[in-house]
Symmetry: C2
């Protein structure tokens, strides 16, 4: 749900005055806020954890005392090649002395020893990516003092943990050297976890650990607590440039030059016996969004025990029964934090001998469902404004409500059980379960006749496969990218889809697929696929179905609609799509691809006959048969969109897409020729078949192009075969007049695809408007309509002023515009070099998913400006796949488009994204 | 030799005051010049012929008196659907009266009858395309009067000619109806031409003609001279929109809305006996450019006899012997005209009973060779400046010197072998080879639809044949002279032509020609004709390219070089090309396509093995074998270009271009599979073949792309297969270092193709510069080089500022840039819808021939501006095919490119075009 590749926004790195100090105590919040200048600058300086602890301290929460070494110190350390900046160590010592005064303990003191934790904490959360050392300050003497105070076992446990952690993190001893003696000890005691080991075992283990360190580093373990502290701070600083952290930042788009702060905090212990505990919680339920504290805790444990899962924690609600007073205090602090931060918090706490300590707070991660409920609830509780609530929900969160999802628990179990077959491109979200089927006809037969749930598995899909795809629960292909045929059709119809699963070898002939490790899935075997994550499982996973009528979602989208300026329309080819689109909030149809109607099973033969016609007369006959079919399609759209615009794009694809596969025909004819030459078989029948195949092949060869994407299609086809587009325009206007006669408020928009020159538009407009007028005259009725063009060729954008003389609207076909502007064939590239480019970082984003602002976006901006200069009221929209992408929607808002159009299932996402765009633009103003 | 598609420049058609009158007398030159405002406007108003006759009159030349009806009258006539504009006829009658006063004769007067010619005359010369009527005013009475004055035969001849011409031109009676009786008469008299027919025969023929007209038109021949005049003027007006004229204007790029003027001139007769003559001449030799009057005349003949070629005329030089005084006078007028017009003139004259009349002058059409010599001579004679001389020669004229001529040795051998069919008039130079075709329609069909090379063979050509002539490689006629229709048109359009080949009997009906000795050439047989020597050979002769060391050309190009600002470089892939390029004036290599080297027969198997390599190691081995080959290629280029830059483009095309044809492999494998399944043949051998084919097919399928033009090629290939481009860069720098060691001054430029993003460039530059540095270190030598990129993707142009951060030069690859900017696949479109677009006028020009200023040009301009903003010294050039197109070169000058690069054969053209661009830009400033 996050967008790892996006670069986080960082305050401008203008040279600012060096902060007054390298360290700040948590109690210095007011002072450091003044020094930093803003809360944001403070977070940069102290890191997320440090600034929160300081802020929590200032709010009066029981935070263990401590201090922060700033990110500036880290940067100076790294820039100085591993030397602390001048004065820093002295400041650390002074801060330590203050800490000792506050706690009444001293580091290394054999009577009242202070133990501290040393933790990283950068501006952006990078969980687990950098280093932490707990229980620092431990020596033999300190252990003895702790034993006297809290028992031998506690002391030995803390000692053992410290040596292991310090050894691994600071001294670089591989953890397996420590784990081996410990495991040996557990075996000897038949213990399942370390808490069952007695003090003497732990003491022996610690002794072994100290030997391990001596052996591994060639030096004795450092016994001086100040040396321990110095080494630990250096290790945390260095971990900023560790491989893990570097890779994480790269993936998450976090700049590499921020540095980490270091938090030195007095240790508090949840493992000081049965009146101690430690836990984590969120201030509300981050799965459902319900307003209930949710979390876990463990009695007599340290924090890492909760996270590591070695012991099963108790639900946070048990705290009320276990220690009612502490529970009330904890709840109060949770409410205070939520109120202060105006968001759900994720907190860590420890109870040391009956005293509650709050160790950390941060904004809680949440599911899509929770995000929406929490935002709406917070606004209802007046904690945030409606606008803030709208901004709190990521557009992709909304997508969740439109598709069934796998049960989270079942998914975890399936993965643990090895049922995950592969993870590939998540091109159409939602969960689907069905029996694997390897061709479209079988899929349709099993689904329609035998009422089976099927998943279509193909190397790739073609227009011929659409009926099978529609009959399936979902589709998996081993080839193809985000804009492959399978992906486009699946998104269009809301079918979950995973494509480009290159690890799967799909064999349609043997009717099976082979996955990694030789797993074979045969026809009829069950598959579960998750188009949201791109995962494909063997077997059936249980699903849960969210509801788009979820009242929180409905309220949130209502608030979003009030904020957005962009209109939201749908790409819909059939009346049933149009109806759904309207339910999802469509304010019109931004793109109806008329040729999709041609692929329907009962129509394709007519279309093929029309293409193969020997003369104009024969072609005319077949067109006459198509006319009533198209008219009824359009009438359905007009009815569904009563009162709203319906944008109908005239035929776009090259004609050979409607004809059978060329290679297959070559194989058939060659096979027949060979057989005939060998006199093998029923010669007259074969000869007849050959003649018919050869005629078809001849026509295909005639239509075949080296680069069909740049060939005879779009407006070029309309100019080349005027009868075809005239038929389409006739169908549009006959339907419009008929609907208008029935009282429907029709707003047809006739759209010309692939325009490159204004003359094309001028010529087509003349021909088509003549037909439209003729129809309206025949029907004795006038309907208002608009004539416009797609902008999907660079030249069209560059000459938009001239195009606007002949077009009343522009619609950006950003799929093709991206192809031509980049010179990339998406069908070829998305499984090929484009993937390589994304992996190698040559492209930050897939330009077919999110608009390329610098190139394609530049052309769009220019086209809008020039188009409107020539025709101020020019209506501008986008109808490419990008129309449902939030970042693209933000760009469309920015350049002043009137609307975006996307698949019906993306509409709620688009509504929210459009609101975000408007709110952010207002905020920036 | 000209550029027919170019639109002639026409003065701006701003509404100008209607001229004071519809007609002007030739003697009114000063008055009409004042009325028109400029000489140019005057030419628009009176047409070329009319304004010249008026101007000649004003210069004192003996011009027969006459008047012009203006082009405005014609336009008003055509706009008024065939009615003379108000007042025009009255003005004509007044002008006629003035003419009658000047000549002392009257139209239709039975005593002193005036005969006039009625001729078209448009702004631009369109020889033979529009109508002319001579001897107008003839009636029975007039004939009788003429007989009394100049003899019966003269009178009857004039009468017969008039009826035939008026009948054909004005009344639309097909000429064969007139030719038949005449031929019959010739047969009866055994006469070879009409001049041998006695008066009584002519009288009888005229009577037959009058019957023919009556039969054909259903009305008697008009006997009223004024009615004749009115009808003739109307016919001339209408002929402006005749099919012939329309097609000619289309081919020559002359606007269709100019209209023609009509000249009404007192007839003078070259056929009044043995002291009369008629002729045409050019003031210099328009074939070679020599400063000698060149032309033909016929004694006792009318002008049409010279042009039609029915009688073979005498060379103009004979005039000196025949009438020395007239010759001296004629020569004086020629010199005066040339001096006045500062250009070679094409004049018509008639001698009537010993008096010389100058009937027409116009700038003479000339061969390329002549154009250059004349321009250089005129400049040397100080008649024009050097700059004017440079501007006088069209860039395409220079092309002549670069086009193939027949190989001298082969020519000798052909002659020895009896392949020389005939030698006749060499009227338009150059060699042409093609299959004989005997009519224009067939020529056009074969050439345009079947892509055949044809030579048009006709007894003579007429304006109706122009389309066939344009479609042919060259033309041969058995009749006609140096100024025959075929000769004029062929010269105009740079088609080699041999005319007047009287030894050949051309039979268009039997579709064959019979040569001396009974050699028969049938349709489809090959002919080779040499328009420079006038030779026609049977069969196909090999050609060579002529020497560009022609001294006039060398001088002219030297003057051009002094004027141009654009550099001129060559596209050359091989050392031999580079050497030629340097001879032709290349200032460097602007594009070396390294992959062309891969296609050489001995290398392709290595390249294929490299592509099919199973692993990196195997690939590396094959690359190691390619390295020395590429190195030696590059060394050759550096040596040839010592001191000049050599721009080397790294591999560009998709890899499958180096592998066998996919369809063929599919057929082969299917055939083998079928045979194996039928157990037909040597199964083990077939199985082995099948396995090998299938492996290749598998690889091909892997590499195959739906739109290879937009696929894995160019820089994408370099990033995908870095070893390949590293090998190329190694070869470049090893060659450069080795050459430098030999004292060669090397300037390599490494060019990355198909860049779309600056990161591609950044990444490639890093990899490739590392390799370059490694090589230079190994070789212990440094060479200066530049790293740059092609700009051939719209996104590259749009982000040129960022690209320029990593590129030291840009080179516009306008072929691909046009494809992507227009979204047109050239390979598919140029034989498909692009032709349709050009025919339908949707595109004015083929954007792959001449740069599309509005779209592609806009991107180029923007890329130069942004690139130079980021890197002021950015070196910018063009290396697409457009680089040799004069109009594109003008554009490149305009947007400030540093150089153009084109094929070696286009270099002289480019040098001249670049000079034109500079001179025109200076003139416009």
């Amino acid at each position: 749900m996050s967008t790892p590749a996006r670069r986080r926004s960082v305050p401008p790195r203008s040279p600012r005055p060096k902060p007054a100090a390298w360290t700040y105590g948590y109690a210095d919040y007011a002072k450091v806020l003044r020094a930093a200048g803003s809360r944001d600058a403070l977070t940069s300086l102290l890191g997320g954890k440090g600034s929160n602890l300081a802020e929590m301290t200032s709010l009066g929460l029981p935070v263990p005392p401590g201090f922060v070494i700033t990110t500036e110190a880290c940067k100076a350390f790294l820039a100085g090649r591993g030397r602390f900046p001048d004065g820093m160590w002295d400041e650390v010592l002074a801060a330590l002395r203050a800490l000792e005064r506050r706690t009444g303990k001293r580091l290394g003191d054999p009577k009242r020893p202070l133990l501290v934790s040393v933790r990283s904490g950068a501006r952006f959360s990078m969980p687990g990516m950098m280093d932490t050392v707990l229980n620092l300050g431990m020596t033999d003497e300190v252990a003895a003092a702790l034993a006297a105070e809290a028992g031998e076992r506690f002391a030995q446990d803390a000692y053992r943990r410290f040596v292991q952690m310090f050894g691994r993190v600071v001294l670089g001893v591989p953890d397996e050297h420590f784990e081996a003696p410990l495991a040996e000890c557990r075996r000897a005691r038949s213990a399942t976890n370390d808490s069952e080991l007695p003090a003497e075992d732990l003491r022996a283990v610690t002794a072994r650990f100290l030997d391990v360190v001596q052996q591994h580093t060639g030096k004795p373990f450092p016994r001086d607590p100040l040396q321990q502290l110095r080494l630990a701070i250096e290790a945390v600083f260095r971990s900023w440039n560790g491989k893990r952290a570097f890779d994480y930042r790269k993936a998450a788009g976090i700049p590499h030059d921020l540095g980490t702060a270091v938090n030195v905090v007095a240790m508090v212990f949840g493992n000081m016996g049965q009146d101690s505990a430690t836990g984590v919680a969120t201030t509300r339920d981050v799965t459902t969004g319900q307003n209930e504290i949710e979390g876990d805790f463990l009695v007599d444990a340290q924090g890492e025990d909760v996270v590591s899962g070695t012991r099963t924690p108790r639900p946070i609600a048990d705290l009320a029964a276990w220690r009612p007073k502490l529970w009330r205090e904890f709840r109060r602090w949770c409410q205070l934090l939520e109120k202060h931060y105006r968001d759900v918090q994720d907190v860590e706490f420890t109870i040391e001998r009956g005293t509650l300590w709050m160790l950390q707070t941060r904004s809680a991660k949440r599911t899509a469902q929770a995000a929406i409920r929490i935002a709406v609830d917070l606004a209802t509780e007046k904690r945030i404004t409606r606008q803030q609530a709208v901004l709190r929900v990521q557009p992709e969160h909304v997508d969740y409500f439109l598709h069934p999802q796998f049960d989270a628990e079942a998914r975890r179990a399936a993965k643990a059980g090895g049922a995950l077959l592969t993870t590939a491109l998540n091109v159409s979200p939602g969960a689907a379960i069905g029996q694997a089927v390897f061709d479209a006809d079988t899929a349709e037969r099993l689904a329609r006749q035998e009422n089976k749930k099927v998943v279509l598995v193909r190397p790739e899909t073609k227009p011929d496969d659409v009926h099978g795809l529609l009959a399936s629960q979902g589709v998996v292909t081993s080839r193809g990218g985000r804009t492959s045929h399978a992906a486009l059709v699946a998104r269009q119809f809301g079918k979950p889809a995973v494509v480009g699963a290159m690890q799967l070898e799909v064999d349609p002939v043997a009717r099976q697929l082979t996955g990694p490790g030789g797993i074979v899935v045969r026809e009829g075997d069950w598959l579960s696929l998750d188009g949201t994550t791109g995962e494909v499982f063997v077997g059936q996973l249980p699903t849960v179905v969210p509801d788009v009528a979820d009242p929180h979602l409905v309220r949130l989208l209502g608030w979003a609609d009030a904020e957005r300026r962009l209109g939201v329309q749908a790409n819909a080819d059939y009346p049933r799509d149009a109806e759904r689109a309207r339910r999802f909030g469509a304010e019109g149809i931004g793109l109806c691809r008329t040729e999709h109607m041609f692929f329907e099973a009962e129509r394709l033969p007519i279309v093929q006959a029309m293409i193969l016609a020997r003369d104009e007369g024969e072609r005319r006959q077949h067109l006459d048969r198509l006319l009533p079919l198209q008219r009824s399609d359009f009438a359905g759209l007009f009815r569904a969109m009563d009162g709203l615009p319906v944008t109908i794009r005239l035929i776009d694809p090259p004609l050979h897409e409607f004809l059978p596969d060329h290679d297959k025909l070559v194989r058939e004819t060659t096979s027949l020729q060979t057989k005939l030459s060998l006199h093998a078989g029923d010669e007259p029948a074969m000869a007849q078949q050959l003649a018919s195949d050869e005629r078809l092949l001849h026509k295909l060869d005639e239509l075949r192009e080296q680069n069909p994407m740049l060939g005879l299609r779009g407006v070029r086809l309309g100019i080349h075969m005027p009868d075809l587009v005239r038929m389409q325009v006739r169908a549009i206007f006959e339907a419009a007049c008929d609907c208008a006669a029935d009282g429907i408020d029709v707003h047809p928009k006739v759209m010309i695809p692939l325009t490159a020159t204004s003359v094309e538009l001028q010529v087509e407009r003349q021909v088509l408007e003549a037909e439209a007028r003729a129809v309206m005259k025949e029907r004795g009725r006038k309907v208002k309509y608009l004539f416009g063009t797609m902008i999907e060729i660079p030249r069209a954008a560059l000459t938009a002023d001239r195009l606007a003389e002949h077009a009343e609207f522009f619609s950006f076909g950003t799929n093709d515009l991206t192809q031509t502007t980049f010179g990339i064939s998406r069908d070829d590239a998305e499984t090929g070099f484009l993937q390589e480019y994304l992996q190698k970082g040559i492209l930050a984003d897939n330009p077919f998913a999110t608009i390329d602002r610098d190139g394609v976006g530049q052309l769009m901006r220019l086209a809008v400006e020039r188009g409107r200069a020539a025709r101020p009221k020019l209506d501008c929209g986008i109808c490419g796949e990008h129309g449902g992408d939030p970042r693209t929607i933000a760009f469309c808002h920015e350049i002043g488009l009137d609307y975006v159009s996307c698949s019906p299932f993306r509409l709620p996402v688009a509504r929210l994204a459009a609101a975000h765009a408007a709110l952010r633009a207002n905020a920036a103003r």
